[in-house]
């Protein structure tokens, strides 16, 4: 296993999520954190002005909500499946249900299916109340076995 794979696996095993996030620069840029709500994992993107997409309406940029949900799902697969590397996203789709206001975003993920090579995940994003979710997303990820974690993912090449 590569040194990075070893570090990622150690961070997952120790539930050292800050170290996990630090290994993914874009997750760090969005400020994503992993939290626990009882048994369930939950993901948070703290509000900051840079995430605004519409200054007149103080609405978050839809792309930041999409990016947050993709990362939350990816992290959830990484942690649940103890992957040596970030699972490779094949595709991603998002439905916007409400405009996201200038508040923290929280994501709950649901790992629908996880096979030998493919993980299929859904996520919902909400802000101040879980009863009024702002977006729903789904994504598929390629999983990697521990013995082939040094191969660079390159679907299509």
């Amino acid at each position: 296993m590569s040194a990075r794979g070893e570090r990622v696996r150690a961070a997952v095993a120790a539930a050292d999520y800050a170290r996990l996030i630090a290994a993914i620069p874009y997750a760090g840029y969005l400020g994503i954190g992993v939290e626990h709500d009882g048994e369930a994992r939950r993901y948070r993107m703290p509000y900051r002005d840079e995430l605004i997409g519409n200054a007149r309406k103080s609405a978050l940029h839809g792309g930041t909500v999409a990016g947050f949900l993709e990362l939350a799902m990816q992290l959830d697969v990484l942690i649940a499946e103890a992957q040596p590397r970030l699972p490779y996203a094949i595709d991603f789709a998002i439905d916007y249900w409400r405009s996201a206001g200038p508040h923290d975003c929280i994501a709950d993920c649901r790992l629908i299916r996880s096979g030998r090579r493919l993980a299929q995940v859904q996520a919902e994003c909400w802000q101040q109340s879980r009863d009024t979710p702002v977006a729903f997303a789904r994504a598929d990820f390629l999983l990697r076995a521990f013995d082939d974690d040094d191969t660079t993912p390159a679907p299509g090449d």
Binding site: I24, Y26, L51, I52, A55, L60, D91, A93, D95, P153
Partner: protein, 152 residues
């Protein structure tokens, strides 16, 4: 600019492109630049930053930053395709990640609004790193026409 603007006028398109980014703080934050709005198929550029990486060891961009850029670029393509100053909002968006984008090189986003109805506009985008025959991702998105002015 009023509701009677002619969005076929190149000068008007350039003005809209300039305002587009100033009005969207997150686009400024990530450095998304409008490169070409002369034709129906418009282009933006996102310069490489280490912050955008998903896998620093392999030197690959994170796929999700492309989603933000695609959403913005499709939105601009739609705004330029409909009349007046009506604002639009993304209803849904899908990304297919065809191959990884590599570190050190910019991401180019080409987008086109290919169908407009009374209430909805449909757009698609292709993301690449200089060779459009080797796209890193494809995006399709639907936008709601809000009926409200962007200045309201």
């Amino acid at each position: 600019m009023g509701e009677d603007i002619d969005k076929r006028d190149p000068a008007v398109r350039e003005t809209i492109a300039g305002r587009f980014n100033r009005m969207i703080p997150h686009n400024q934050a990530i450095g998304l630049q409008v490169a070409d709005v002369a034709g129906e198929r418009i282009r933006t550029t996102l310069a490489y930053r280490a912050d955008f990486l998903g896998d620093p060891e392999a030197g690959l961009w994170h796929t999700a930053i492309g989603t933000t850029a695609a959403d913005s670029t499709c939105g601009l393509a739609v705004f330029l395709a409909i009349s007046g100053l009506e604002s639009v909002a993304t209803i849904d968006l899908r990304m297919d990640y065809l191959r990884p984008a590599v570190a050190g090189r910019a991401l180019e986003i080409e987008a086109e609004c290919y169908h407009v109805t009374q209430c909805v506009a449909f757009a698609e985008a292709t993301l690449h790193q200089g060779d459009r025959e080797r796209p890193t991702a494809r995006c399709t998105a639907a936008f709601m026409r809000t009926g409200r002015s962007v200045l309201a």
